[in-house]
Symmetry: C2
Subunit: 345 residues, 2 copies
DNA sequence: CTGAAAGCGCTTACAG
DNA sequence: CTGAAAGCGCTTACAG
C-alpha cells in the first residue's frame, strides 16, 4: 500500500489551494479554464490517483452499487449481471458483485459487507428462502433496493417477468401441437416464482378442460440433474405425458440429455419447453423451445430503476415501481420435432 | 445516505473513549473483557454499522480485492470466479468483480476504477490483446497482481494450465482411436494460450509421423458459432479429417450442434474433444470428451497466491510464483462413439 | 474566481 | 488497561 500523491501535492505543484484542485477534479465550472488546465497538468505529471474512498467519506455519498446474485451457474443470471453492470458503469458507478449460491447465510454475510462498504444502492436477486422481511430491513438502512426476477411483496421496487403469462403461452403451444397429457418439471412449493409458473400451466390446462394428474407435477432440483430425474419419472408413468414444461432452461437441458441417453429425441418422444432462452438453448441437440423475456432488457430496466431512485434525493417519495416483462415463446425443434431454420447464421 | 451512529456515539453511550471502541471493534486483547462487552452492547443497541471506507482511509490498507474476468459467458470463468470469491471471502476480503468482455478499453476502465477504489490486490484474466507491459504497469502501482489462465511473461505471479500437455493428451487419445486426419478448431495466432494448445496438437501429430494439412488448422471464433463454422469447413475438405480437437468447450458445443443439425452424431461421423470440462459438458448430446484442469482448484490456487503475497508485507521480496496445473482427459461419448456410464448418477 | 477551515469516521502511536 | 491527539485524503459551506 504505497501512498502516492494527494490533492495537497498537486496544489503545491500547481501553486493553488487544495480546494481548487478538488473543484477541478470534479470538473466544476467555477474554476477558470487556465487554472484548471494547470492543475490537470500537475496531476498528470505527478501520476495522481483519485482516492474515491476519501471522497465518499467526506462527501457522504458513494458511487458503488452492490449486486447480489443467487446463482451464477445459471447463465441467465450471468446475462442479467452483464447487462446491469454495463448500464451502471456507463452512469459512472462501480459495481460490487457477490454470489450467494442460494445460501441465506452467504446472502446475510455479503449484505452486511456491502453495507459496511457503504453502497449507494443494491440490486438483488434473493436466494430461495429469503425471509419476507429482508427488503424492509434493507430499506430501513436507507439503502435503495431493486429486486430482480424474484418479487417479494409490493413495497419494494421490482423488475421481473410475468411468469404466469409465460407458462400459459408455453402450455398453450403444446396443446396446439395436440398434446393433452402435459407434465410440469420443477415444482417448488412456496416460492413465488415457482407458484406463478405452475399456475400459468395449471390454469391453461383447466381452460382447455384438460385434467392434470398429481404425478405430472414433478418436484425436482432446478438443475440439469433435476431434468434427468424428471424424464425417468415421466417414462414410469402410464399413461405417460407426451410433453413437459420445464421450470427453466437448466432443467430442460437435463431433460434433453436424458432423452438422448435413452436413445430418444426431444420433440418426438417427448415435447420439451424451457424458460429463460439462455444463449446455449440455441445450441442444444435438438435446439430448445423456450420462453424469452430478454435478460438484457431486464438488466437494463433494473439498473435504470435504481439509478432513478438514486437521483431522486429529496422531494416527495416516488411510488414503488414494479415492472414485469411479458415473455415471448421462441419455438425450436424440442417442442415440435421439426427443424426450424436458424435466422441469419 | 443516512449517517447512522459512529464510534463516537458508541463511546458516549458506553462511557469510554473512541480509541477504546475502535480497539474493541478490532477485537484487540488490550481491552478488558468487561469493557469490551459493555462497548459491544452499546454498539448493538445503537444499531452501529462499521464504516470500512473510513477505516481503510486511516489504516492505509484495504480489504477489498479486485477481480477482472475476460469472459463470463464462458461458464469456465464463472466456475473460476466462484472458487476465487469463496476463498477470499473466507479470508475476510471483499471482492470487487468486473467483466471486460474481451475489450481492452473496458479493461483499462475497470482497472483505473479499481485502483481508485484502493484495492489491496488484483486477480486478473486479461482480455485478448492486452499489451505486454500491463502487468509491469500494475505492479508499479504497488498493487500485487495474480494472473489466471493467461500467462504474460515470467515476472508476475501466474496460475494457469499446462496447455501443451493437455492438447497432447487430447491428440494422443484420438490417435489411439485410430484417427490419422485430425483437425484443430480455434486457432488464434499470436496469443500465448492458443499457441500452446496448437503446439500440443502439432507436436503430438509430428511425434506419430502424421502430417498435418494447413487447412486442418481452422481459424474460428472461440464460441459455439465458431464451432459450427469449423464443422462446415471440415466437411468441405477432402479427404476430410475424422476428428477435431477444439480450443475449448464453447467451440466444441458448436461442433456438436452443427453435427446434429446435419443429422450426424459426434463420436461417429466426427470424433470431438473439448477443453475446460465445464459442467454442461456432461449434459450435451452426446456428452463431451474434454480436458479438465479443475476450475475450483485453479481458483483456489490463484486466491492463495494473492493472499500469500498480501501477508508478506515486508522482508525480502519472495520470488515470482508460476503454477501450471496438469490437465486430465475426461473421456465421454463424443470422441469414441460409445456411451460411457456416468458414475453415481 | 479562489482560499482557509472544518470535518467525514475511523486508526494509531504515544502517554499515563 | 484506557484516553487525548493527530491525521488518512478528500469535500463543502463560507468568505472574500
Amino acid at each position: 500500500m504505497k501512498s502516492g500523491p494527494t490533492i495537497q501535492d498537486i496544489a503545491a505543484s500547481a501553486g493553488v489551494s487544495k480546494s481548487t484542485v478538488s473543484l477541478v477534479l470534479q470538473e466544476s465550472p467555477r474554476i477558470k479554464a487556465e487554472t484548471a488546465e494547470k492543475v490537470r497538468e500537475a496531476a498528470r505529471a505527478l501520476g495522481y490517483v483519485y482516492n474515491r474512498g476519501a471522497a465518499n467519506l467526506r462527501g457522504r455519498r458513494s458511487t458503488t452499487i452492490g449486486m447480489v446474485i443467487n446463482d451464477l451457474t445459471n447463465p441467465f443470471f450471468v446475462e442479467l449481471l452483464v447487462a446491469i453492470e454495463r448500464v451502471l458503469a456507463q452512469a459512472g458507478y462501480t459495481t460490487l458483485m457477490a454470489h450467494t449460491a442460494e445460501s441465506i447465510e452467504t446472502q446475510t454475510r455479503v449484505l452486511r459487507s456491502m453495507r459496511e462498504q457503504n453502497v449507494a444502492g443494491l440490486i438483488m436477486s434473493p436466494a430461495l428462502g429469503t425471509p419476507d422481511n429482508l427488503p424492509a430491513e434493507i430499506q430501513s438502512w436507507g439503502v435503495p433496493l431493486v429486486l430482480v426476477m424474484r418479487p417479494m411483496g409490493t413495497n419494494v421496487d421490482t423488475v421481473g417477468v410475468n411468469n404466469a403469462h409465460g407458462f400459459a403461452l408455453a402450455t398453450e403451444h403444446l396443446i396446439q401441437q395436440g398434446h393433452t397429457r402435459i407434465a410440469f418439471a420443477g415444482n417448488r412449493k412456496g416460492y413465488t416464482v415457482a407458484n406463478q409458473r405452475r399456475e400459468g400451466y395449471l390454469s391453461t390446462m383447466a381452460r382447455h378442460d384438460l385434467s392434470v394428474s398429481d404425478e405430472w407435477i414433478i418436484d425436482v432440483e432446478l438443475t440439469p440433474k433435476g431434468g434427468r430425474d424428471a424424464v425417468r419419472a415421466i417414462f414410469d408413468m402410464k399413461p405417460r405425458p407426451t410433453a413437459v414444461v420445464c421450470y427453466n432452461d437448466q432443467v430442460a437441458f437435463g431433460v434433453l440429455h436424458e432423452l438422448d441417453r435413452m436413445g430418444k429425441r426431444a420433440g418426438q418422444a417427448l415435447a420439451v419447453v424451457g424458460c429463460d432462452n439462455v444463449v446455449a438453448a440455441e445450441h442444444t441437440n435438438p435446439p430448445l423451445t423456450t420462453l424469452s423475456a430478454g435478460a438484457d432488457k431486464l438488466g437494463t430496466m433494473a439498473s435504470s430503476t435504481l439509478l432513478a431512485r438514486l437521483e431522486q434525493t429529496d422531494g416527495p417519495k416516488k411510488p414503488v415501481i414494479q415492472y414485469f416483462a411479458e415473455p415471448d415463446l421462441v419455438i425450436r425443434e424440442s417442442s415440435i420435432g421439426i427443424r426450424v431454420p436458424a435466422k441469419a447464421d
